[in-house]
């Protein structure tokens, strides 16, 4: 490494970010060159002096006031039409409220429409087991019936009797 190359590399070496191979090359040159060694020592001393002080910090309690002032200034900023629209559509605080509103509307509409649709076909054929069914059984039955039908259409449908049949209405 020449003196010129070493002095170019010194700026990286003394300020701290040097690949190990470059650092080794600089160190090897400094061992044999008194001029570059003196230059390196001066640079190191200067950097140490410059870095000696603490980071400048603002006075205590500065940041809360800063944030308030910043918010006020941003609120006074003219906002474009597109930005205004985008903010209205995507205000996160309104997300849950909008979801709740959708659920309520769906519930109300479905409740209002149900009588207009009339009774379903199952209501027209009363189940003969009805007197024996408890409320909890009633809530389970539709899914039970569906499960049995699925089973019957699969393995159970080929060579086994159905486990559950709704009795047809007698004469």
């Amino acid at each position: 490494m020449t003196c010129r190359e070493t002095r170019d590399a010194l700026i990286e070496t003394v300020t701290g970010r040097t690949p190990p191979d470059l650092r080794r090359a600089v160190a090897a040159h400094l061992e044999v060159c008194a001029n570059c060694r003196r230059e390196a020592a001066r640079f190191e001393e200067t950097v140490a002096l410059l870095r000696a002080g603490p980071d400048p910090d603002p006075p205590l309690g500065f940041w809360p006031g800063f944030m308030v002032q910043l918010e006020e200034r941003i609120a006074r900023e003219p906002v474009g039409l597109w930005a205004r629209l985008r903010r209205r559509l995507t205000v996160p605080a309104l997300g849950p409220a909008a979801a709740t509103a959708v659920v309520v509307v769906v519930f109300v509409v479905s409740t209002l429409l149900r009588p207009a649709l009339g009774p379903g076909p199952e209501a027209q054929t009363p189940n003969p087991l009805a007197p024996y069914l408890t409320d909890s059984m009633r809530t389970l039955l539709p899914s039970l019936e569906q499960t049995v039908q699925i089973w019957q259409s699969g393995l159970g449908g080929t060579d086994a009797d159905p486990l559950y049949l709704i009795q047809p209405e007698g004469p």
């Binding site: 700026i11 003394v14 200067t46 400048p56 006075p59 002032q69 930005a83 995507t90």
Partner: protein, 185 residues
Amino acid sequence: MDHEDAALVAAFKRGEESAFTAVVIKHRETVYRIARRMLANHEDGADVTQEVFIRVHRALPRFDGRAQLRTWLYRITVNLCLDFQERRRRHAWVDLDEVVQEVPAEAGPVAQVEAGALRQAVARAVESLPPRQRAMVGLRLYQDLPYDEIAGICGCSEGTVKATMFAALRKLRVLLAEEWSEERR
């Protein structure tokens, strides 16, 4: 881009104003320190810091994420500081009282006086650098940024940054030697 910064930028673009507050809280101290070191007093540093985040709020929806958010923020900070100094058309005003007040009170009286004098000497020496040199020295020595990032912030080549740093350190060495010997007299 830093994952956290990328998530905050994306959230802000979706309209979450709180993401901007998080960006400010994360970067305000570094932005303040860069501005304070370039402008050499609290008042101007605070004003520029405020202005930086106003600009960021305006421009963040258009930020494309090709550069690091911090590089972009620091570029805005350095440019605003340069504009600020250009507008005032005078050298930065170094508040030497502020510099002395930064000496920790736990140190003994002699150490406090010496440390205060040294900081004043350093502050005066740094203040005598041209603004762009001062920016580069600050970003390298105090923010510990790599040379390629400083080049991105200052809008020049890495070689230019290194050459400028070399010249700045040589000048500072001479100035500090003079200042320090005067202080000791």
